[in-house]
């Protein structure tokens, strides 16, 4: 009896590579003294190997391990995205952790393990693998959020995230159980072939509703957003960068994949529920963003609002919406990694230098840094020629295509709110006098990463077809 086919091994090769290198990194960390730097390099090599595996499997279009995993296309695209995010967030983390004197090897090991969970999420063709991926990613995040063990804010962040996250997991699992109860399988590819019969069963719909609550929590959509501001503010800045980009992208990749099953019915009620979720997230996220003074908190509320924009793509249930989400995730990830990279460089001990006032006069003190931050803020607002504009355009257009014009108009109006708090930082940087004349150190590794992110959003903003051409073969 043959257990594995070559497709199984190839299909899971990014996961296997990450797993192997995380074990090597763990052993290096255990047996060598002062090995945090070494662990960093081992982890980086692991990520490069996994990127190679993902790119190699891109042209394949198959499933592995008895339809548990998707191989190639969708899975490869998102895997490469998560791996790049993980790599960039490690580059931001290394100088930051060295400065804070919290530089231990476990940090990189946990990043690798969280990335395994993310890759699982993007490749899952079965609700079981989706659940395991979510757990793997979340458990790593709970630990990473509390990485500064001596800091109260970090402890608070980890505890809140853990308690609420465990609660949300309960909903997800309950939903999966109900879907299994009504269809007799957890496999998405098999459930979709049974339609429309199970869809007449209210139990089946409630199952999807409960799963929606679970995913809504992970992507930080209103009304499941309560944890976001405190967790993002309290967690170490590079961890926040990783959570808000990688965590969100991974949650959206699995949200999109699993919900393509019930959305294939184009059921009006489900579309309305998702549209309301999107509208509420855009409104509340942007509304509370207006009154923030702390940049990390502001970006947390902005992350809620951006979850709302992306849910439009799921609610519209068109290929355009799906491509829009994938593009938006790329641009959002690059933009947020860059913004958090700058915040990590500016931050002083014990959470100092995180307010708007601390950025006053940055335009004169560090012109390059200020220009990059301004670019990221323009991209988050959705101003051309940056990538954020193209993503928003596709998402709003998909809403119009699905006869939800009100949602597109609502999105544009709430984006106008967000202009205030994104551009406010630019006003501080360029039109206010500096009050703080402490020297700002720019560690080369972080600065190079931020420049790469900036180059990325300009490139994808001007030549979006680089990504859209790839996506034609996926969706």
């Amino acid at each position: 009896m043959e257990f594995f086919s070559p497709t199984d091994l190839l299909g899971s090769s990014p996961i296997l590579a990450l797993g192997l290198f995380s074990l090597i990194a763990l052993l290096v960390n255990a047996f060598l003294k002062n090995s945090a730097g070494m662990v960093f390099y081992v982890s980086a090599v692991g990520i490069f190997v996994a990127i190679g595996c993902s790119i190699y499997t891109f042209p394949m279009n198959a499933t592995a391990f008895s339809d548990m995993l998707l191989v190639g296309g969708y899975a490869s695209f998102f895997s490469v995205l998560f791996l790049v995010i993980a790599l960039f967030s490690m580059f931001i983390a290394k100088p930051y952790l060295e400065r804070e004197q919290y530089h231990y090897g476990e940090y990189y090991v946990l990043i690798l393990l969280a990335t395994i969970g993310m890759v699982m999420l993007a490749s899952s063709a079965d609700l079981i693998t989706a659940f395991l991926g979510i757990e793997m990613m979340s458990v790593s995040f709970y630990v990473l959020a509390g990485y500064f063990r001596g800091k109260l804010s970090s402890n608070e962040s980890a505890l809140k995230y853990f308690l609420l996250g465990a609660f949300a997991t309960g909903f997800l699992l309950y939903g999966i159980a109900l879907i299994y109860g009504t269809t007799g399988t957890t496999n998405l590819l098999r459930i979709v072939t049974m339609y429309p019969q199970p869809f007449n069963d209210p139990l089946h719909i409630i199952g999807w509703g409960l799963i929606l609550i679970g995913f809504g929590f992970k992507v930080a959509a209103v009304p499941f957003h309560m944890w976001v501001p405190d967790v993002y503010e309290g967690a170490p800045t590079p961890v926040t960068a990783f959570m808000s980009t990688g965590g969100k992208a991974a949650a959206f990749s699995v949200f999109l994949m699993t919900f393509s099953v019930p959305m294939s019915m184009r059921d009006e009620r489900l579309m309305t529920v998702l549209a309301v979720l999107a509208a509420a997230s855009m409104l509340l996220g942007n509304w509370f963003g207006l009154s923030q003074t702390n940049l990390k908190r502001m970006l947390a509320y902005s992350s809620i609002a951006h979850a709302g924009y992306m849910i439009i793509g799921i609610a519209s249930a068109t290929p355009m919406g799906q491509q829009g989400i994938a593009f938006y995730l790329v641009s959002y990830a690059l933009t947020n990694l860059g913004a958090f990279g700058i915040i990590a460089m500016m931050e002083k001990e014990n959470g100092g230098n995180l307010n708007y006032e601390d950025y006053a006069g940055l335009g004169k003190r560090k012109p390059a840094l200020a220009a990059l931050l301004a670019m990221f803020m323009f991209s988050l607002t959705g101003i051309p020629p940056f990538a954020g504009f193209i993503g928003k355009y596709y998402l709003f257009a998909s809403a119009v295509q699905s006869h939800m014009t009100w949602l597109a108009i609502f999105g544009v109006i709430t984006s106008l709110f967000s202009t205030y708090y994104y551009l406010r930082i630019i006003v501080y940087m360029y039109f206010k006098e500096a009050t703080n004349h402490e020297e700002i150190k720019l560690p080369g590794l972080t600065f190079a990463t931020v420049i790469l992110c900036g180059a990325g959003i300009v490139l994808f903003g001007i030549v979006p077809s680089l990504i859209f051409d790839l996506m034609k073969s996926i969706f």
Partner: protein, 176 residues
């Protein structure tokens, strides 16, 4: 009401009653001990459902392992035995209405729907499931099985990192 249903309601009553003691008791030791009966009642329901492997695992892991660990944790942590650990309740009205709505919805739907499995119930001969589960775990479900072990690795690494002594620069005042 046949014998099967009587036994089912017996176990269901044990589960729900002891679970409410866990939630409402103000003494942590009482709560921990009534968890024993909750796990036991659930194991009984698994037996009724022909899920023998699951029932045994439930007893071995939850009652034998996790619960004992929990009790040791409670007893070894000083000053928690007689302490009132429950904090006050907030937003009682809002929480109660949401819970009531959700429970009503789920209950109503459970009452009215056809269960997928219920069509075959009673026709299946009583047989052990452990062989099939074992085969599934190393053939069709080998990936989730292996990944579950990696999740345990994450938990161990995380716990070890959180708990270690060295290099803590605490701003948290010590309990003395």
């Amino acid at each position: 009401m046949n014998m099967y249903e009587i036994i089912f309601y017996f176990f269901a009553f044990i589960t729900v009653a002891s679970a409410s003691v866990v939630v409402f008791s103000r003494n942590i030791i009482y709560a921990a001990f009534s968890l024993l009966f909750t796990f036991f009642g659930v194991a009984g329901i698994y037996v009724l459902l022909n899920a023998d492997f699951l029932a045994i695992t439930q007893l071995l892991i939850y009652v034998g392992g996790i619960l004992v660990l929990l009790l040791f944790g409670v007893m070894l942590t000083t000053n928690t035995v007689n302490i009132d650990i429950k904090s006050g309740s907030m937003n009682v009205l809002a929480a109660a209405s949401v819970v009531a709505a959700l429970a009503g919805l789920l209950g109503g739907v459970f009452w009215t729907s056809d269960w997928f499995v219920s069509k075959q119930m009673g026709e299946l001969p009583a047989q052990t499931t452990s062989k099939e589960i074992g085969t599934a775990l190393i053939t069709t479900h080998v990936l989730p099985f292996e990944i579950a072990s990696v999740i345990l690795l994450v938990a161990i690494v995380g716990a070890a990192m959180m708990a270690r002594r060295e290099g803590i620069k605490s701003q948290i005042p010590s309990s003395k």
